[in-house]
Symmetry: C2
Subunit: 257 residues, 2 copies
Amino acid sequence: MVVYAGQGDPRRSIELLWRASVAEQRPGPKPGLSVDTIVDAAIEVADEQGMAFSMRAVGERLGRTAMALYTYVPGKNELVDLMYDRAMAELPATYSTEDGWRPAVTRWAHDMWEFYGRHPWMLQVSQARPVLGPHEFAVIEALAAILVPTGLPGRELRGIVGALHYFVRGAAQTVAEARAAGRATGEGDEEWWYARSAVLAELEPDLDKKFPMLHLLENDREPIDPELPYLENDAVENFRGGLKVLLDGVEGAVAKP
Amino acid sequence: MVVYAGQGDPRRSIELLWRASVAEQRPGPKPGLSVDTIVDAAIEVADEQGMAFSMRAVGERLGRTAMALYTYVPGKNELVDLMYDRAMAELPATYSTEDGWRPAVTRWAHDMWEFYGRHPWMLQVSQARPVLGPHEFAVIEALAAILVPTGLPGRELRGIVGALHYFVRGAAQTVAEARAAGRATGEGDEEWWYARSAVLAELEPDLDKKFPMLHLLENDREPIDPELPYLENDAVENFRGGLKVLLDGVEGAVAKP
DNA sequence: CGAGGTTACTTTACGTCGTAAGGAGTCGCA
DNA sequence: TGCGACTCCTTACGACGTAAAGTAACCTCG
């Protein structure tokens, strides 16, 4: 389920994101919860169960019913927006560029990679319309702060920032989903792959002849880390290789004006 | 909702994908449907309503109930796998490289871009575990056939192929979700953006000072196509710019051994 | 030609989800 | 002291995927 950001009342959403609500003295029973505790609990649930977590599960973790949450948060969509921005607070706000932009971008990419590994549900929040929260801004600001000093014009920088984001998200998504699928089915990668490729080889014996280039692509393969499962090794290799190519492209743009 | 591929019986899935079922004479009433008609109907529904289409909706389009589909297809997950592979059949199987690999890859990327625009739900099928259908293979084969002749080793090619895929998917996802969210909320991009940025400016007046680099990123902006909505222009610009950088990086790898 | 088995499709039902509606109890303030 | 705002609960609704069981159509074999 891809969750679309920002469908509700804009004012309410933005106010929640920037925590603009004033905690004045009010009549009625003391609130037992807060937006923050709810968001934290929801992130914990999502880390464990993925984006398909339920309001009931979040309520239960807090010793309440699902409906109790609706006192603090307009609905699940808005809660996801808040989770999204809150999680982003984990990421560094600045990167040192004293050894140049390239190592800094590399560190940024690795941080994002690991971050998405911790919070795979983040990858399922729609990117189309930004959540517009403070920490989301801070993350883009951090990357921009590395790249702006290269002197490239905004037009070019936006393309680069976009490509980096797309790339990191895509690469992270592959591992994240591999792990999630493994958990969901109780199958490890190896079993999954073996069961399918065996049937495929039986039903379609001359695959290599039908797709010769694909076959060539598959050679020269060595596990980066033999501890890691099959598909994850693949993903790590692709991440490193792809990032290198991308940054080489950026280097070209920086070198010649 | 991200749908995880290949959770069911491997043999049944692969047989369906490669259409290995034999249409022999069998007792009982004549089948009024077929896997193909169901997959086609499901694709139509998904094109209109997104990945959150329902089995009931697909059945209705065929003048049946939801349960009728289960005679032909084990479940919704498997149906999505079939839709995924079937839609991929629209894409070209080969690209001419007579003018070099770069224009060919560019054509490939644009084809993918437009394809995802036609079938945005494709972007929500999990990429972690390949569907392993014939047309999915064909699409990768087409890209591999462009890149293998550059002489780069498999290890490097996989990184490049991965990066291209991630990039195109990411860029396409941004527009696709912008459109989907627009349809879902009945808001155009402009209204959405305006409502939010107005509230944001009011609540957080000195954003530009808090995120100075972000502000610099935003200058030098001109619509590529004034007919297109706001976010879509952004996405097109990012796509072109990002693809250029990526291909520059590939060029570097090809040039020096 | 008629019985029996197999198949296509339907109806009904279950457990899940997000959340609307209404009520019970709690507290600040007049 | 009581009004009204507030938190949180119970109940309920309509959506979803799909399991189970029933009905009717059709082929095959006697």
